[in-house]
């Protein structure tokens, strides 16, 4: 199956390095309790494909970097300082302080069973950089390779975010016309 696995590093609620194996199941369901991190996983997929952070419930890229300390070791007033800017504190997350950089890598398998690694970083200064098969590339080259796989990020016709589905039917006629215009 095309999307083989996702590798996350300090992305949203995923601390450190996490590997999400999607195997070769044609129909996979992501399940778990409220607040567990399921939609954050969809945000990771959208993020690595180049979707803007506004669509990912974040006003700026920095919000996508893991923030947090070992919850078990905090007392209550310390808990309130946790939302300090992720960019200004130390890099290690293992000892319980905020992260400074983050990335998501998607491992894609094409029709010839060749693996392609798409990686998007958020640098320590909050800027996006792209790597294709571990080599730094500009966004245009990255996007071009995605388009070869029929992944059209501008159209986003393969992503339905939480809460959006009913609105697709209730949108007025002008909005639907613009939507069709965008996918053409």
């Amino acid at each position: 199956m095309p999307l083989k696995r996702l590798e996350l590093y300090n992305f949203k609620s995923y601390r450190g390095t996490q590997i999400i194996d999607l195997g070769d199941a044609p129909f996979t369901c992501i399940i778990g309790p409220n607040g567990a991190g399921k939609s954050n996983l969809m945000d990771a997929i959208s993020f690595v494909l180049g979707v803007k952070s506004a669509q990912l419930r974040s006003t700026q890229l920095r919000d996508l970097v893991y923030r947090g300390r070992k919850a078990a070791q905090m007392d209550n007033d310390e808990a309130m300082d946790v939302d300090e800017e992720a960019g200004e504190t130390l890099t290690q997350t293992e000892n319980g302080t905020d992260a400074r950089s983050a990335w998501v890598q998607a491992v894609y398998e094409d029709e010839n069973r060749k693996e392609w690694k798409f990686r998007r970083n958020i640098s320590t200064v909050g800027v996006s950089t792209y790597h294709l098969n571990s080599k730094a590339v500009p966004w245009t080259a990255y996007n071009q390779q995605l388009e070869k796989f029929n992944i059209l990020v501008k159209a986003k016709n393969f992503l339905v975010f939480q809460g959006d589905v009913e609105g697709v039917a209730s949108q007025d006629s002008k909005a639907l016309a613009r939507l069709i215009d965008r996918i053409s």
Partner: protein, 163 residues
């Protein structure tokens, strides 16, 4: 640009009814419902509007606003699948699109998705409903590890457990 628009519009207009029927049909109602797109102004289509209307199985015509939450969701899903089919990406990620669906409609969605997944598209669906995820081939269980203050995941291939 008008050509591009018309090409997309014609494709969607042509397949929306079949998709809606495939999605809404049931054993006792083999025809499913009716869905159609219409242009408000055929001359300058991308400047005017495109209207979308459906009639759920065995129901009379009402405007989209008066459909129920579940009926609107089924209509929206058909439209989304039609849009996806125009430039079919190799995968499709859907987040809790079944929130408004009753068990009958959830199993219609599951059946439609299974059928599409076997053909060509990898589906990744986030869902709280066991009536949906019990039909999946694979599961990714996401949980919150409190001590580490982090989300974690566990992947499970359900097909290994089929006798």
């Amino acid at each position: 640009r008008c050509d591009l628009f018309n090409k997309a519009y014609e494709h969607m207009s042509g397949c929306i009814d079949k998709i809606y029927k495939d999605l809404t049909k049931a054993k006792n109602m083999p025809t499913g419902g009716v869905a159609f797109l219409s242009l408000e102004d055929a001359e300058e289509p991308y400047l005017s509007g495109v209207r979308y209307n459906v009639m759920p199985p065995s129901k009379q015509f009402v405007e989209m606003e008066q459909l129920s939450g579940g009926e609107k969701t089924m209509a929206a899903l058909a439209l989304l699948f039609a849009i996806h089919s125009f430039h079919p990406a190799p995968f499709f990620v859907l987040d809790e699109v079944d929130a408004a669906l009753d068990p009958t409609n959830v199993s219609k969605l599951a059946r439609y998705v299974r059928h599409q997944a076997e053909k060509s598209v990898q589906f990744l669906i986030i869902s709280l409903k066991s009536t949906l995820y019990e039909h999946a081939d694979g599961l990714v269980g996401v949980y919150r590890e409190q001590e580490e203050n982090s989300s974690k995941s566990l992947s499970l291939d359900l097909r290994k457990y089929v006798e």
